[in-house]
Symmetry: C2
Subunit: 246 residues, 2 copies
Amino acid sequence: MVRIKRKVEVIGLELPIFKGGEEVDIAELIKDFVEDKDIVVIAETLISKLEGRILKKEEIKVSKEALELAKKVGKEPEVVQAILDEAKEIVRVGKNFIITETKHGFVCANSGVDESNVIGIKLLPEDPDRSAERIRRRIKELTGKDVGVIISDSFGRPFRKGSVGVAIGVSGILALWDRKGEKDLFGRELKSTEVAIADELASMANVVMGEANEGIPIVIIRKANVPFGEGRGRDLIREKEEDVFR
Amino acid sequence: MVRIKRKVEVIGLELPIFKGGEEVDIAELIKDFVEDKDIVVIAETLISKLEGRILKKEEIKVSKEALELAKKVGKEPEVVQAILDEAKEIVRVGKNFIITETKHGFVCANSGVDESNVIGIKLLPEDPDRSAERIRRRIKELTGKDVGVIISDSFGRPFRKGSVGVAIGVSGILALWDRKGEKDLFGRELKSTEVAIADELASMANVVMGEANEGIPIVIIRKANVPFGEGRGRDLIREKEEDVFR
């Protein structure tokens, strides 16, 4: 009457701790752990470090605008300068937070600028989709295996408290999965069912990663029913014009 | 240098298909599959059916307000009436969607009213936290095992396309996990890190459930590092007054 229909494994990999700027081939490091059709989720922090997206505070020149905003929100001026430099637009400002639209188009707190788990100020990868694509191709080259790759981060959101894992870079799988036209339990067509499957996979990986402070920056998801194909993290961005909350 | 540090299992259970109103003891059905410290995630659809939260269209009396709104958004008047009856407030209205705050306080499309996988119009459970609590206690009673229970649904969100799994009812684990004060990779304190762990677990389960149309309404998450304790789904609701996007 009740039976196990599907069993997915979520495997957390411990890696050495990097400070930033090291020459590291991630695909080479993890190649023995990867199987065909796995989803490899990599914490944005690791990518940012290895791509040298860390600023030293003393090298940041603070503008008058950043100084004023820093006072207003109660943040360090250097951090605010980095947030502004990474932003396309300021969306909302409040006590100790600045919500921006980043140059990539992500709406998130502080342009994704962060000081946790790094020495200095960490920026988001310049092009997380490109980073994901590069690693996916390299895994294929080294192992012959086809995988999906997701670069994950944690974002807050309106209406609900707390942060959740999101996919900022995607390669090898669809980010947005349109299930319209599939049949429901009673044989009728599902309506308007677009699933942010890459975000769900990033949240899934986040449960195993924790807050990237446990030394697990990479998670492998095995035997999940996911749509392989040519998706991009940017497919998940809702355009400003289409967004009733902007 | 690289090693497996954690392995989490996500197990999808196939159940018989229920039409609604059946007398079913969920804990009894799944008791042989549950281990101590598991997280049991149950699709809201299943709970709503078993709690009789299904309306027949012909029994709904349509008000003038619902009729007008139905024309405006392009939905059936009966469905709009159900949406209004379940709402505390209308938050945004657009082409084929009505975003409301439900009586529970959730901000979501159509007050969570839905016609997929049911015969009739499905409403959210009246009190999903209570439903989760009841099932958790019953599992304890039948098996002696302590588990966390989550009632999950799929919500859309601002800024990002597609829906993701969220926890509308929680019992036995924290819904919101404050990791402030923990140390980062370099031994410094993490700042302002509140994780919506129950939402992440709901998204994790969603990956295995699909759109509830695959006959997997219950997912068991095993060996995850989660905070057991007295959480509630309502802990995840951001109050209107605190929300810069309301």
